[in-house]
């Protein structure tokens, strides 16, 4: 039986704004399947985003949704979660939103290990504003502001998250659609700050400038570069050249922020 996405889609809010071939919709469907598999109550779930094409996602989902300012999702979400720790708080947004203007909030949410899940749709570009390079655009790639090729080195979002203290980090791709819900569901169940990076595509502003003739080309690339972590264990460094690991990359237990703050409250009240 086909999955019923309508259960979590806001009535009357489709069609979405995304271009044909954009990967963001694939991620949204994955998120909905994950929410359904965990039976998340809509009124107890808050989805928070910044600004960008990816950040339009919450508007389509029938929960408490907060479409904030560019890069600020993690900070707004931190306020929601601190004030109401019993809510499920899920963040989503693009690579530019999360790692450029929002980079500071991102690393500090990782450091606090506050129990929220952050889905980053990494299409290597600022899609919404017409294809300027982001901190994730590959060196040498063409963007509207790198007409001679991108001189900047890029971020590895997963490594950044691990280095900053996130306790669950996973990576999937828009091509491997069936895996997305599993990664997101595991991330939501993890206690602490969890990051799920989904390698995505923007045919409109990235593909056409970088010699991808079609969306299929872009999807094929995702298929080719992705190597599941398990498979990678048996591969040589040479074989892994140019590949990207997918699956759960990092999972550790550390004290969670809202629980630690609950202890602060206990200490303050005991001292009163």
């Amino acid at each position: 039986m086909a999955f019923d996405y309508d259960k979590y889609i806001r009535p009357g809010k489709l069609p979405h704004i995304w271009c044909p071939g954009c990967g963001h919709g694939i991620v949204m469907k994955g998120l909905i399947r994950a929410m359904d598999s965990l039976n998340l109550k809509k009124e107890d779930t808050c989805i928070v985003s910044g600004i960008g094409c990816a950040s339009r996602l919450p508007g389509y989902i029938d929960c408490c949704t907060l479409h904030t300012a560019h890069g600020r999702a993690a900070a707004f979400a931190t306020g929601v979660k601190m004030a109401k720790p019993e809510m499920n708080v899920i963040l989503c947004g693009g690579d530019g939103d999360g790692t450029a203007i929002g980079g500071n909030h991102f690393i500090h949410a990782c450091r606090r290990n506050i129990n929220m899940t952050y889905i980053i749709m990494n299409n290597y570009i600022y899609g919404m504003t017409g294809g300027q390079f982001s901190p994730c655009t590959p060196t040498g790639a063409k963007a509207s502001t790198t007409p001679y090729g991108n001189p900047d080195p890029g971020f590895d979002i997963a490594k950044l998250a691990i280095g900053a203290g996130a306790t669950f980090v996973a990576r999937g791709t828009a091509y491997h659609a069936a895996q997305i819900d599993k990664l997101i569901a595991e991330a939501i169940q993890h206690k602490g700050f969890s990051v799920v990076e989904i390698l995505d595509d923007c045919p409109t502003t990235y593909g056409r400038r970088n010699k991808y003739r079609s969306v299929i080309d872009m999807m094929n690339r995702l298929k080719e570069v992705a190597v599941p972590v398990k498979a990678a264990e048996k591969m040589t460094a040479e074989q892994l050249e140019g590949k990207v690991l997918t699956g759960v990359l990092h999972k550790v237990e550390k004290p969670e922020y809202t629980e630690e703050y609950a202890k602060v409250i206990q200490r303050a009240q005991a001292a009163k």
């Binding site: 919450p58 479409h67 300012a69 900070a75 707004f76 931190t78 929601v80 809510m87 500090h108």
Partner: protein, 377 residues
Amino acid sequence: MAKKVAFLQGNEAAAHGALYAGCRFFAGYPITPSTEVAEVLSAELPKVGGKFIQMEDEIGAMAALIGASLTGSKVLTSTSGPGLSLKQENIGYACITEVPAVIVNVMRGGPSTGMPTGPSQSDVMCAKWGTHGDHPAICLVPASVQELFEETVRAFNLAEKYRTPVMIMPDEIVAHMRERIVFPEPGEIEVVDRKGPSVPPEQYKPYDTSFGDVPPLAAFGSGYKFHVTGLNKMQDGFPTTKAEIVQAEEERQVRKVEANKADIMKWEEYLCDDADVIVVAFGSTSRSARFAVNEARKNGIKAGLFRLITFWPFPEERLLELSKKVKGFITPEMNLGMCTGVVKGCIEGNAPVLGIFRVDGEPINPDQILDKMKEVK
């Protein structure tokens, strides 16, 4: 029973005023000369089950504040000039999304890092024009420790009542001086809570103007699901670019404050009735002004003090009225003419407005004001 009396610093009084008003969430980033507000609340909030978080910067602090307010908490942040500049992004967000929040901004010298420990009154324009776009502005400028406590309570009431961010801007002198304060009993000062929805979740719209210019605000996590965006929105909270809706919503957001000016504005008139010369002042400068007015009266000069307690909305109509019977206004302020310009703008040229401006980190003393009075003919 005798009331609780204490000898408090202004910033401490602001923190206690917030607690009196029911504040349960603080997010901030340390900055002189406002840090004591955060320090007091880091100790006091957890005692009452509230939350305190020190964020990574002021942008994040203002963001966290709005997130927490949307769950139904009463929220406060405190900052000073450079931090206020960073908060402006999300102050605008709170304006357009109509989320209550209170911001204490202790005025120090600027622009930029300026004079971190020097007093100033140069952020009052930033309270109105600091964030981009048309938006409502409420800014309170208390002059004593007691008043800072009471106006902080009022700031929360106004934020909750009008669903909008409210700024309270003591200058550094008011924020750092110590004075005797009498704590009001619980219930003695009115405490206002935001209006919640009266309709079931299926019918709820976060900007439902059938309830008036200030629609009820539900809390995230209370059974109500809704969308909040910084884009121009419709009554159901979803973005729109429809010209007539955008125009009407923008006008409503400003109108909810402008049409309720009488409820929001507060000022004190001291010896203004028969005055030939009126000193318009606020914050610590108004204390020098009062002294100068008393001295002038001893010397037979009919001087009065018009003390602003709200800077925005500005009491334009009342000053216009007074301008018809005075020989001149004197506007001492620790900036280069911000209040002076506003006074000139509302009195239709009826009287000269003589400014006294100091931005050297020194307070304006009564002698300067007395000297200026001699220029009013």
